[in-house]
């Protein structure tokens, strides 16, 4: 247990260093926000076009769908901020041979990787999600209480941990191929499924995003809860899912690391 505590405290101090060094890149920072706003605009135009053709999508109105979209973006912003460096394990750390240096440190190498984060897109996701969430809550006449804000923040983090755990588990492929980032990206992209109500999908995809890659706990169920819709209680399973997935992910990762260590590369 103390080992975990140590790792977490080291992680937090690494994170604060990372944030400070990110501040040095002002141009990238601004470009990051603008480019994400543009990317999201593309997606939002699609949603807008859909609602030119219909009043509701599987019972969801335009406003509600935008709220779901905003909640998804908030979770993704946190994932992007905390776990972006997972992509670097294969193409950067292992390919350039820097990974062996991490193994010499007195902390878990995974902490070294995620502590050294540098992402400029996260702030773009964050900006768009806040705009969408706040304006849609007002439009849908949902009272913005302290309780609601706390819920949104807590469950966004819990959702981010689920997605982060999946990324960590998949990053075990880094020990076998430099192109592991493409594998992680393929699965990460599934979050776009969770931007829309699960009712529109067939059984296969529903099972995929509920049980195998449970993105629905990260975004869909919380939104149901905030909207006071049926099945909203499922949101409370999210932290449990997060913890289970994190434990499994780290176990898988350690197994991969041990194999890597014993065979070299």
């Amino acid at each position: 247990m103390t080992k975990i505590k140590d790792n977490i405290s080291i992680y937090l101090s690494m994170l604060s260093c990372s944030i400070k060094s990110m501040m040095e890149y002002r141009v990238d920072f601004i470009v990051g926000i603008i480019s994400q706003l543009l990317t999201q605009a593309v997606e939002l135009i699609f949603i807008w076009i859909i609602f030119q053709n219909t009043q509701s999508l599987a019972g969801w109105t335009f406003d509600k769908l935008l709220l779901l979209y905003g909640i998804t973006m908030l979770t993704i912003a946190i994932v992007d901020f905390l776990f972006d460096s997972i992509y670097d394990i294969g193409p950067k750390y292992i390919k350039d041979g820097d990974f062996d240096k991490l193994l010499l440190r007195p902390i878990h190498p995974l902490i070294s990787v995620i502590g050294d984060t540098k992402t400029f897109t996260a702030f773009g996701y964050m900006a768009i999600s806040l705009i969408l969430i706040i304006s849609m809550l007002i439009k849908l006449q949902i009272d913005i209480t302290f309780m609601l804000v706390a819920k949104i923040i807590i469950f966004a983090f819990s959702g981010a941990l689920i997605i982060g755990a999946i990324m960590i588990a998949l990053s075990v492929t880094s020990f076998y191929t430099y192109k592991s980032n493409e594998i992680i990206w393929s699965v990460f992209r599934i979050y776009t499924f969770a931007q829309y109500p699960v009712e529109i999908y067939n059984k296969f995809i529903r099972i995929l995003i509920t049980f195998i890659f449970p993105f629905v706990f990260a975004t869909y169920y919380p939104t149901l809860n905030y909207l006071g819709m049926e099945n909203g209680w499922l949101m409370y399973l999210s932290p449990i899912v997060a913890i289970i997935f994190l434990i499994i992910a780290v176990k898988i990762w350690n197994w991969g690391l041990n194999k890597y260590r014993s065979t070299g590369n």
Binding site: V27, S35, L38, T39, I45, I183, Y196
Partner: protein, 263 residues
């Protein structure tokens, strides 16, 4: 010259195929991208029974062709140019016996070649999951290919313009996203352009990006026919010229920066 270009292109494809898993993963990514779109449209169709001017299998085919064409319309070498500038490889490449402009066109052909491979794989795999319509007739298919071929220089010159921004800023990845977003919005990648407001369509009609997705797919589906296709090809030729001149101006200015200030 052509031999050299093709050799560079072939090397580009080989470079990709060094990583055996890449083709599979890129194809998978294409399919993940299309799934959402198709399910959303199916849901709307089931609810309302119609979609503006498109039958349900036409709209599915539309989106499958969109993801099929993405590797050829959005991918390319511009991150390579920015990389070559940032890392200083450009000084070495300027000493090649063929111009930097030609050299990178070869590389672009390599990207397109690999893009084509991915496109074919995507199209075949999509056929397993959905019923994809075939081109209305052989002439439509030939016209479809012609339009796509003319996109290659347009896309390349645009990337040259974006890539040379690497001389002025390190944040070229942002420029990339900007390029992709603008193309996405004005090309019909998001949705058929006829679903957009009229004013917007007017702008899209002038820009060359419509020919990246909307036009070829509609030719494929038989919704654009006859003389109109000739006009479109004319428009593309004009854009090839405009983009060529712009790219040359940008590039020459950037190279001056190297030859006067030493990079």
């Amino acid at each position: 010259m052509l031999g050299t270009l093709l050799k560079i292109g072939k090397m580009g494809i080989k470079e990709y195929l060094q990583y055996k898993s890449v083709l599979f993963l890129f194809t998978l990514n294409r399919i993940i991208e299309v799934v959402v779109y198709i399910f959303v449209w199916y849901a709307i169709y089931n609810q309302t029974g119609q979609i503006e001017g498109f039958a349900i299998n036409e709209i599915a085919t539309y989106y499958i062709l969109v993801v099929t064409l993405v590797p050829m319309s959005l991918w390319g070498i511009n991150e390579d140019i920015a990389y070559s500038i940032r890392k200083g490889y450009i000084t070495r490449e300027l000493l090649n016996p063929i111009s930097y402009f030609t050299y990178y066109f070869g590389k672009e052909l390599g990207e397109m070649g690999f893009g084509l491979l991915t496109a074919i794989c995507t199209f075949i795999v999509c056929n397993i999951f959905w019923t994809v319509l075939m081109p209305v007739n052989i002439w439509a298919f030939i016209a479809f290919i012609c339009i796509l071929l003319l996109n290659i220089p347009i896309s390349y010159f645009l990337q040259m313009i974006v890539g040379t921004c690497g001389f002025y800023t390190n944040a070229t990845w942002g420029m990339q996203i900007l390029r992709k977003s603008i193309i996405s919005i004005f090309s019909g990648l998001i949705a058929p352009l006829t679903m957009f407001p009229v004013a917007f369509q007017k702008v899209a009609n002038i820009l060359p990006f419509k020919e990246f997705f909307y036009t070829p797919i509609n030719i494929y589906l038989g919704k654009i026919q006859g003389v109109e296709i000739l006009f479109i090809i004319g428009k593309q030729l004009i854009w090839v010229l405009i983009m060529y001149v712009l790219a040359k101006v940008f590039f020459n200015k950037a190279v001056k920066k190297i030859t006067i200030n030493g990079g």
